[in-house]
């Protein structure tokens, strides 16, 4: 099976890997979900919901920020964090493409077996 459209990207490291890895953690997924309402939140607000320390939330937010999924902004004395959707959409497009490749491949299997 081939993923032709990614031929060129394969030479570089696909940034998808970084975004996928950032999402591959339950705490970080929970933070993304918490921010998915569209409203920004401070570390204090994010920690209030989570059964983990402020320090841990800060560390996870940093990973999400490095992957471009979350952005921070100073607002007075506090830092507010908001979701940045572009990398997430990129992942969706990638997974849809891989999924379509599987549709084709499985279609060939079905035709091969049923013929």
């Amino acid at each position: 099976m081939l993923r032709k459209s990614h031929k060129r990207r394969a030479a570089h490291q696909p940034p998808h890997a970084v975004v996928f890895a950032a999402l591959g953690d339950k705490t970080r997924l929970a933070l993304v979900e918490r921010l998915s309402g569209g409203r920004s939140a401070s570390i204090l607000e994010l920690t209030a919901d989570a059964p983990i320390t402020r320090q841990a939330v800060t560390k996870h937010l940093r990973v999400l920020e490095d992957a471009g999924i979350v952005r921070s902004k100073r607002a007075g004395r506090e830092t507010r964090f908001a979701l940045h959707l572009a990398p997430l959409h990129g992942l969706q497009v990638y997974l849809d493409r891989v999924g379509r490749q599987w549709d084709e491949t499985l279609g060939r299997l079905k035709a091969f077996v049923e013929e």
């Binding site: 099976m1 970084v18 890895a21 950032a22 990398p87 891989v98 499985l106 299997l109 035709a111």
Partner: protein
């Protein structure tokens, strides 16, 4: 870890035993997967073959066979991006591909799951950590700027 995966289901009008053979006989697998395999599948061993897609004949397809539970589960791990002969994919974290078979009234239900997209190999993890101020975040900004300048 939270799992990022792709799941597909397809019903095939043939007995489970027939589908199992198409999946696990290396010659039959090669027919529909379009790869010229050299030897039978053996769990724990690497399966190798030339890709038969026009334009990709120079590329060698590789997968490590994981499980072969007769008429139930066939799985292998591979590198889903591995089409660039100049890149060494052996250090990258592979994804896991699982084919599960179930008997139905019409024949066989095949469920495919590809998982492990969130597994980042060690060197990429380092790379990701170096991206604090540059790298991917910067790239997103560049794209945004480009879009803003050329609406």
């Amino acid at each position: 870890m939270a799992e990022i995966k792709i799941e597909k289901r397809i019903e095939i009008d043939a007995p489970v035993a027939r589908v199992w053979r198409a999946l696990t006989d290396y010659r039959e697998f090669g027919e529909w997967f379009r790869v010229a395999l050299e030897a039978p599948f053996v769990p724990g061993k690497t399966a190798r073959g030339r890709i038969l897609h026009p334009g990709y004949e120079h590329v060698v397809w590789e997968a490590v066979i994981q499980k072969m539970e007769p008429e139930r589960l066939f799985s292998f791990s591979w590198h889903p991006y591995a089409v660039d002969p100049k890149t060494d994919y052996s250090k990258e974290a592979p994804t896991l591909v699982e084919f599960r078979l179930e008997k139905t009234a019409a024949g066989t239900l095949l469920t495919l799951v590809e998982s492990g997209f969130e597994n980042l190999p060690a060197h990429r993890r380092d790379e990701a950590l170096r991206m604090n101020d540059g790298g991917w975040t910067q790239q997103v900004k560049n794209i945004e700027r480009h879009v803003a300048e050329k609406p």
